[in-house]
Amino acid sequence: MSMHIGFDFTPPDVPGKVTGEIKYAEDYKKEGMVFARLLTSPLPSGRVAGIDATEALRMDGVVGIFTADDLPPVPPPGNPSLASNYVTYVGQPILAIAAVTEEIAESAIQKVKIDFERRPFVVDPLTSLAPGGNNAYPEGNVLVRTTEEGPEGSPIRGAEIRDVKWPQTAIDALKSGKEPIGGEFTTEWSFGNIDEAFSNAEVVVEEPFVTMGYPHHSLEARTSMAYWENGKCYFHGSSQSQSANNNGLARLLNIDPADLVFINEATGGGFGSKIGAYPIMAVSGNFSRVLNRPVQLRITREQEFYIGSARSGMQGWIKMAANANGKVTAVDLVIVNDGGATGGGSGNSSAQHVTVAYQPENMRYRGISVYTNTTPRGAQRGPGQNEMAAVLAPLADKVANQLGIDRVAFRRINAIDSDGFQGGSQGPVTSAFVKEALDQGMRTFGWKEKLEQPKENGSKVRGVGVGIGYHGAGGRGYDGLVRIGVDGKLYIHSGVGNLGTYSYAGTCRAAAEVLKMPWNHCEIIRGRTDRHLPHSSGQGGSNTIFTHTRTNWVAAQDAVSKLKEIASSEHGGTPEDYEIGEERVFNLRDPSKNLTYAQAASKAIELGGKFSGEVAPADINPITQRAVEGLAGTGLIGVAKDNLPGQGQPPGVLVGFCEIELDRDTGKYQILDYTAIADCGTVVHPKNFENAMRGGAVWGVGLAALERHVYDPQNGLPANTGLYQAKPPTYLDVNLDTQAGAVNIPDPQNPTGGRGIGEPTQGASAAALASAISDALDGHLFNSAPTTTDMIINHLAGNEYSTKSLKTNTF
């Protein structure tokens, strides 16, 4: 009988969030702190030929300037903290000035004169791929893998930037929804024989598609504050991750990770953009060392748009075939990704989504990521998978409709199960119960009943849709660390970050479960490196629930073993003669022979060695080694690397069902119902599970209907840097009655049964909404994410409107 797993609790940071008492990076001050501000590029492409900061540095209160010359060079296409020879997007940081007040720093920035040399620029990947198209870098537009190791100092060894151009016929073919024959790709894989499968298919559907990149818009801009004391750098930063940030940030500061204290109590959103250390962190940390004063670098909303990362866009073509039974027999997929100024596309993940959602018998994927002079691209909630889900759902509906098969039934025929595969390598999964999720979703949503209802009511028309979201949902091999104190409490040390998913807390419940500890006798230790935190995964990729229930489980099991050893040494017998319960370790035959956890902790300190952390396992990460050293002699230490057996990728899969009412006079629609059912193993923390499901549903509306980059192709300027223009969903854009459920079948490779689900919550929502819009419009395919209201009304008005230009970033 579970004590904690599957039950609600209040994560310890929630009260501080409703009172405003919890601190984010920008809320910290330090004696003698100065304020840095950024000067950013007004140009989409060029180089800095000269900087004249004479006037700025003469101002009273200005204490210093920091430029690219103060940092190691970053060869292209790396993302430099401060740009100089390669300025590749509007808003790219060029330099920082620090002053005793923020207003002086801002005024000083305005007095800096920069001599820029302009370079040609491009904001659309297909424009760059076309013959004669501009490139984002002087060297070219595509990162191509080479057989050699690549030049020394290259940020990506074994790769180089090359100028790749496609024949115009290939560009034209892609735009007209045909295979771009003659186009060069950098990633290709296939399995089976697609040609044979297409020729034998009952139905073949072939469509172009386009998805837009858009910013993460983390509400907390990535401010940081750093200072140095006794050779250590104390760094207050905004990050999704805690321990996973250490090594990268230490590299940016050119210090040993042991000399970094990274402090991160709370983070105001990340969504993939703050998984690891990011370039601008180098500025406050190194500037502080140069000035020998604490430096706070505050980032504005506009600057967060520029440097806060963005989802990659896709321009693509897909051909899908199915047999008369509804089985998807072949998929041929081409994706041109928008890599932005730096970073890359996620086409392979998009293709992976196709494999999991429809388990095609034969498939080929070809992809290429092209740099543009737009904001850097990186992982954003279900990168690749979720935007693919949005454009794939209506297309899959078309296949089903042509076969005369119900759209949910079509997905059920092709659903992944525990014997299924994912990705081009057709690797195994730990378990999958998507058929069960579809069945549960149909019942909860009332799919059949809704299909039977009248579709039209005056100018209003109803549409119902179904979609699947997927993301890999777990990793292995990280460390767990717990301590039983002499006060008898369980201290669960977590190196997992806190971006608001609360999985850092949910996963700690696994340790409490193993040690049968009441939750009010447990304390989570986290938020600062010097609190002795173990090596943990990055807080991204929906992995935390699977990954760190396992690490906390094995650490707590180690503590249990030590409790039994200590008790047997004290009371005789063997460890196998003992059991734990009610915060004691006791002899099974004679429970009077027992030790409280507090007594056992004191005994562990007396015994020393492995019991109190003087000796640590050899296979744990150096980060955990340091943490154990820091805790040595303070209690009974449970520490272990996750060596639990198992293989395959744990999948997080979600099915979404959406009903909308669309007004044919305005193109506007309202979401009437949204139901989402997760296949994520055991639900570890129900309330938080609901939070993830509903938050992801909101993100799906943004992806499917609202959010996108807009760049001016004439000047390379972004047109929607603000939240109001970029249109993240508000209260008024979304459904407020989400029905969230789970299959709740345990994953056999997790001791708690759990798998992650954070990212696919968006993909399923976006897919179901796109499917519902298409259904409301008699199966019309926009082949675009987002599908905006103006696109709908233009379609309804019979205006010439086509996504076949495949324009991304522009109109």
Partner: protein, 195 residues
């Protein structure tokens, strides 16, 4: 100010009043930072959370800046600094306002309530705060102080709002995490409509 302001009306009002920061502005409007020639009084006393707080205020300083960086009331968050997100919401004479878009000099003689003033005098959580905890409403939490402020103002004016009324009243507060349903459920819980 009309307590039933919509988000759009609020933003239009801010823009026409000239108080909104420009797109490129930082937290502080540097161009306006020089002391005015009119000799505006800088040392003023503000009524913040029921206490009189003397503070040195520049002519074009925003209330969000004063609260966070002069009075150390860092519960008020600056998400956009241009009247778009609502993270900096405070009550001015009981009406929710974006403090990033209000000049501090304009609140002289008015009662300002920031998130730090929402708890009871005995330290207990306001019913809205307690309900938000029960609903596990915050995710990243950065918008939460603003959500609390708007929800408190809503219930002060409309003790039993419908879900649609609550959504409209809260629609000036963005939540990038998308925790809208949980905040709405918190409002309904605090108003006794769900238990």
């Amino acid at each position: 100010m009309n307590p039933q302001l919509t988000r759009r009306r609020f933003i239009k009002g801010v823009i026409f009043s000239g108080a909104a920061a420009s797109t490129g502005a930082g937290v502080y409007l540097a161009a306006n930072a020089q002391p005015g020639s009119g000799g505006a009084e800088r040392l003023i006393t503000l009524n913040i959370n029921g206490r009189n707080r003397p503070v040195d205020v520049m002519p074009s300083e925003t209330l969000a800046y004063t609260l966070r960086y002069k009075l150390d009331l860092t519960g008020t968050k600056i998400g956009c600094n241009r009247g778009e997100c609502g993270a900096c919401s405070v009550l001015i004479n009981g009406v929710p306002n974006y403090s990033c878009s209000v000049l501090t000099h304009n609140v002289k003689g008015k009662a300002v309530t920031s998130i730090e003033g929402i708890k009871g005098s005995d330290g207990s959580l306001h019913p809205i705060q307690a309900a938000f905890v029960t609903e596990n409403a915050p995710q990243c939490g950065f918008c939460t102080p603003g959500q609390v402020i708007s929800a408190v103002a809503l219930l002060n004016n409309n003790p039993r709002p419908t879900k649609a009324e609550a959504a409209r009243a809260m629609s000036g507060n963005l939540c990038r995490c998308g925790a809208y349903e949980h905040y709405i459920n918190g409002v309904l819980r605090a108003s006794g409509q769900i238990a």
